[in-house]
């Protein structure tokens, strides 16, 4: 399982990367390598050019900007998981990361890499959707912002032109006192999620004032449960209400394969959403 031949480039800045993307035939960007290297070793990906992003300046780091957490695309998953800002202000991200692969893969894997790979089961993609993340994209025409909700164009296909790259991702903060939970079902710890669920709740004066419910693993891209969210708004988050929100998962359209047929994914989704909501509620302030 050795990679097929390719030409290797290690640019030092984003301009160089963009130039290479625009001029080379059949290039692939190499970020953390935890998804691309297996594909190269298995020869299911055979780019003519590999553009290594690991020496490009200015692509990593976690900062606060305009009410959002801004994470450079090349920031290592482990550094995000352990970052005090993440733990304090966006704990759902830290919780999601604890499910991403293993310690060793998080030492190299990047946030941007996982997002751009767009595996339907990827936890980071689901949590980005839960948080209404915005991707900062650079290309020959300049910079643009792209909502995570418009990012998946198809199965493992981001809505990026071939000459574009993601340089950073912004995750708008939720107010202090919000409740969160990321949970998933995988066959073994660390495996890709068969189905994952992310729940965020604001409860004020005993009622839900904001809700975000996301499923991963049921479709090519993450699925925000807008109707369930709408039904939660303004409601008193009783057990019945939460169960009702979760029960909407029985109606979703889900992917199917022999290991996890659609009916089973729907059941998993229902269970996981309910549990995520219960936990998020318990963690939320202002539940009284």
């Amino acid at each position: 399982m050795k990679a097929a031949p390719f030409a290797y480039h290690d640019p030092r800045n984003v301009e160089e990367v963009l130039h290479l993307l625009a001029t080379l035939e059949n290039p692939r960007l190499l970020a953390g390598g935890q998804s691309l290297m297996p594909m190269l070793n298995m020869r299911v990906a055979f780019p003519d050019h590999v553009i290594d992003l690991n020496r490009v300046e200015g692509l990593d780091g976690v900062t606060e900007r305009d009410g959002a957490l801004r994470i450079g695309a090349m920031t290592r998953q482990r550094d995000v998981e352990e970052h005090p800002l993440v733990r304090a202000r966006l704990p759902v991200m830290a919780e999601a990361l604890s499910f991403v692969g293993h310690w060793q893969t998080r030492n190299r894997g990047t946030v941007g890499g996982s997002l751009c790979n767009l595996d339907p089961s990827a936890e980071l993609v689901a949590v980005a959707a839960a948080l209404d993340a915005v991707l900062e994209v650079r290309g020959p025409a300049g910079a643009r912002d792209l909502s995570i909700h418009a990012f998946p164009e198809g199965f493992m296909t981001p809505a990026l032109a071939p000459e574009e790259m993601v340089t950073a991702i912004r995750f708008p903060f939720w107010p202090a006192g919000h409740g969160h939970c990321f949970t998933e079902f995988a066959r073994r710890h660390g495996d890709y999620a068969i189905v994952s669920a992310a729940a965020l709740l604001m409860v004020e004066g005993g009622r839900v004032t904001r809700a975000s419910l996301t499923l991963g693993g049921v479709a090519a891209g993450p699925m925000r449960l807008r109707e369930a969210e709408a039904a939660l708004l303004g409601a008193v988050p009783s057990e019945e209400v939460l169960r009702g929100a979760a029960a909407r998962c029985q109606e979703i359209e889900a992917m199917s394969d022999p290991q996890a047929p659609a009916w089973y994914r729907r059941r998993l989704a229902t269970t996981l959403v309910r549990r995520a909501l219960e936990t998020a509620l318990a963690r939320a302030g202002g539940a009284a």
Partner: protein
């Protein structure tokens, strides 16, 4: 060596821990391994070596129209590309001696000739100067093939293998007692249809083979071997037309065997043939994707079993028909797994009448052979499901049903009118009921029932199950060991045993040290080397401690006797008053007196010593241990599981394996075998499966699909090693410990899941997957 030396009786190993035996001493193997200084197959390198890459079939069943190699030959670094024509002179790969006739035409060629029969079958090979370039070139080989219908179901009617041959080469039948009468007179008959999914050993090290022709000495060497060097050496020599002394196999470190490594595979013969013809060393290292489609599969069986019982739940008779999915070819085990399954099915129970028909069937999947507790993981699952079904049908307690049927200690040895692996099934010793009591008590079974009731009342889905197993071990017919003390007092032990990574050196060193009176850490053990000892039967079937261990005991005692005789003359004391401690011969009674070291004795026994005139020099003895019967370890698996209703996930919370091994030479190593074996058993019960799509394309092709248990999947494990029933068949009293941890796992988990679901008989197939459990739970919880 000595020709027809009489088989003298040797004293048996005394009970209780000795100086080394019975102690959990640390392993002599470990130092290089923890330092990363091991020599696994991929670590072997020779100058000028070529790398071999196999081009594998991409269809499950197809007629090969052409194999085009020109483009591959033109690739950089490529030295040769072979197809079936280039190796037409190499016969089909044979199988080891078996009573079953008619299997020969179903053996595998080293490269597919006119048909490919499973995805992964070798079709061509490329030889290049490095592994990356060999893989590049292999991609350029073009295989044109016409797809044929695939057969993927061993329970379906057999199809055509070749003109005149159909896909059921044999049916293994065994029968004794009045089966029809048993069913006619039965109070109740339970009938079950049960299946075990396809899975296998999947060691962490993939296979590797490095062949080198030493032209100076006219010796063909094969490195990276394991398990069965002497038989493999003889076959390789025969298949390639060389004399056996002109072929030698070498074993370095072995990254796990579990039955699948060390058999003779096409790649072994290909590297050997290539080394001879291309006159350069040839190295082949399997990658993981290859491994999952090319290395032996195992376990897939479908049973239709009926059991007749009386009103008390006692077995009157069992009638089993099963279908064994052998995959595309017969491999080196012939039909042995079917034979084992058939012969071991009765397990620990009294069974007056028995009939079994094992249909050995070929399908278009990777060929299958032995994997840890072969035939027994499967039949323990089947038999213990039957016992649970009997309990449910008659309203009896699951434990009580088993008690009523267990062969008692008073009935040992208990001969069944059956044979397996060419030897009669004689349960040599055992206190089955006694160990069951100990296991239940240790696990807290009675208290657990109350705990389960309380947990269920609070809404949890929890259950417990058990399985009784009988293992087999110590397969003969023989093995030999040579023990030699050199002029410095160092001891070397050369055995025909092999390693699969289990710690064979340490155990043999302990036995040798115990017998000879030296420090075990100073015994050098040689194994897996056909050039160091002429004969050997290798490491498999949990035989090494029994066979090579017993031979070691005899040989070391013989050396001890020689040394004491010599010392007696030197020290002018009767040899009966002498003992050996840490290599020094001294008075046994502890009083002060003259001493002499083994080194001095050995020096005095050299070829230049006058005292040796007329004798064979050297403080050396070679002894063989012969056995017609196997020893039968036994035990119980007890499992506590919790089911997550919302997902169907089965979590194994707590587990006990009780295993009587006759005698534990090193309890720490025995425990390691049991816990490690259990991890694999749990894999087969809950996670591991080789799946295929309807066209025969394998779906479990990476570690993302074939799910080996990580530490997170392991329950809290308790191990109860018992030495209640030493084997009377060898001087050590040992029975093997390699397979008991795996044997009962499928059965125990299935029973526990049924109990949690409160639905006896719900689980009829392994592995137990969450979607199935969720469906059995009947909807949303």
């Amino acid at each position: 060596m000595d020709g027809l030396i009489p088989v003298e009786e040797r004293p048996a190993l005394a009970a209780g821990p000795g100086d080394f035996v019975g102690r959990s001493v640390t392993r002599i193997e470990d130092a290089p391994l923890v330092r990363g200084e091991g020599l696994f197959a991929a670590d072997v390198n020779f100058t000028r070596q070529l790398h071999m890459r196999v081009v594998r079939a991409e269809f499950a069943h197809a007629r090969i129209l052409s194999v085009s190699t020109e483009a591959a030959r033109a690739m950089p670094g490529v030295v040769a590309v072979w197809t079936a024509e280039d190796v037409a002179d190499i016969p089909l790969i044979p199988f080891r001696a078996t009573k079953v006739r008619g299997l020969e035409p179903y053996c595998q060629p080293v490269l597919a000739r006119d048909r490919m029969r499973y995805v992964g079958e070798p079709v061509a090979v490329v030889f290049a100067d490095d592994a990356y370039r060999a893989e590049d070139a292999a991609e350029m080989v073009v295989v044109e093939a016409e797809e044929l219908a695939v057969l993927l179901d061993a329970t379906a009617a057999p199809g055509e293998f070749a003109p005149g041959l159909h896909t059921e080469p044999t049916i293994v039948r065994k029968e004794y007692g009045e089966v029809e009468a048993a069913f006619r007179s039965a109070h109740a008959v339970v009938e079950l249809e049960l299946s075990v999914g396809r899975h296998s050993g999947v060691p962490l090290e993939t296979r590797g083979a490095i062949a080198r022709y030493d032209a100076a000495r006219d010796v063909l060497e094969l490195h990276g071997t394991a398990k069965k060097q002497h038989w493999n050496r003889d076959e390789i020599a025969r298949l390639l037309g060389r004399p056996p002394q002109g072929v030698h196999l070498f074993e370095g470190h072995v990254g796990g065997g579990f039955g699948v490594r060390g058999e003779l595979y096409p790649e072994d013969l290909l590297v050997c043939a290539a080394a001879l013809r291309l006159r350069r060393p040839v190295k082949w290292i399997e990658d993981r994707r290859e491994h999952l489609v090319a290395t032996n599969h195992s376990r897939e069986q479908h049973h239709r079993i009926r059991a007749a019982v009386d009103a008390d739940g006692r077995l009157l008779g069992i009638d089993d028909v099963f279908f064994h999915d052998q995959g595309a070819y017969v491999r080196t085990h012939g039909a042995r797994v079917v034979d084992l399954a058939a012969g071991m099915l009765p397990g620990p129970y009294r069974l007056p009448a028995f009939r079994v028909a094992g249909h050995f069937r070929l399908t278009n999947k990777t060929p299958s052979a032995t994997y840890r507790a072969p035939g027994r993981f499967e039949t323990t699952f089947v038999r213990e499901r039957v016992m649970d079904a009997i309990a449910a049908r008659l309203g009896l307690d699951r434990i009580e049903v088993r008690r009523r049927n267990l062969v008692t200690a008073a009935e040992m040895p208990h001969a069944r009118p059956l044979d397996t692996l060419g030897v009669d099934v004689v349960l040599d010793s055992g206190d089955y009921g006694g160990l069951l009591d100990k296991a239940l008590s240790r696990f807290g079974w009675d208290a657990l029932q109350g705990e389960l009731a309380a947990r269920r009342a609070s809404g949890e889905c929890v259950g417990a199950g058990l399985a009784f197993f009988v293992e087999k071990s110590g397969l003969g017919p023989s093995d030999g060991v040579r023990v030699a003390v050199d002029a410095t007092g160092a001891v070397e032990l050369v055995s025909g045993a092999a390693s699969v990574g289990q710690g064979v050196e340490t155990v043999l060193a302990q036995i040798c040290a115990e017998a000879l009176g030296v420090d075990y850490a100073r015994v050098r053990v040689v194994r897996g080397r056909t050039d160091r000892i002429e004969f050997g039967n290798g490491a498999h079937a949990s035989r090494v401690t029994v066979m090579s261990g017993s031979a070691t005991w005899k040989a070391a005692l013989a050396v001890r006797e020689m040394a004491l005789d010599c010392a007696a003359r030197l020290l002018q004391l009767p040899s009966s008053g002498l003992t050996i401690r840490d290599g020094v011969v001294m008075r046994e009674d502890g009083l002060a007196g003259p001493t002499v070291t083994l080194a001095e004795i050995a020096r005095g026994m050299g070829p230049n010593s006058r005292a040796m005139h007329g004798h064979t020099p050297g403080l050396t003895a070679e002894r063989w241990f012969w056995s017609d019967h196997m020893a039968y370890p036994y035990g119980i698996h007890l499992a506590l599981v919790r089911i997550d209703r919302g997902t169907g996930r089965v979590v194994a919370e707590r587990y006990l394996v009780a295993n009587d091994v006759g005698r534990a030479i090193n309890p720490m190593l025995v425990e390691g075998q049991i816990v490690g074996g259990l991890a694999q058993g749990l894999g087969g019960a809950l996670y591991e499966e080789f799946r295929y799509d309807p066209s025969g394309q394998p779906l479990s092709t990476t570690f993302a699909d074939y799910l080996i248990p990580t530490i997170a999947e392991m329950p809290v494990v308790d191990v109860l090693i018992a030495e209640d029933a030493p084997s009377p068949l060898n001087p050590l009293g040992v029975k093997g410990a390699g397979e008991g941890g795996t044997n009962g796992a499928g059965a125990a988990i299935a029973a526990a899941v049924d109990d949690a679901l409160r639905r006896p008989g719900a689980i009829t197939a392994l592995p137990v997957v969450p979607a199935t459990v969720h469906r059995l739970l009947g909807g949303l919880a």
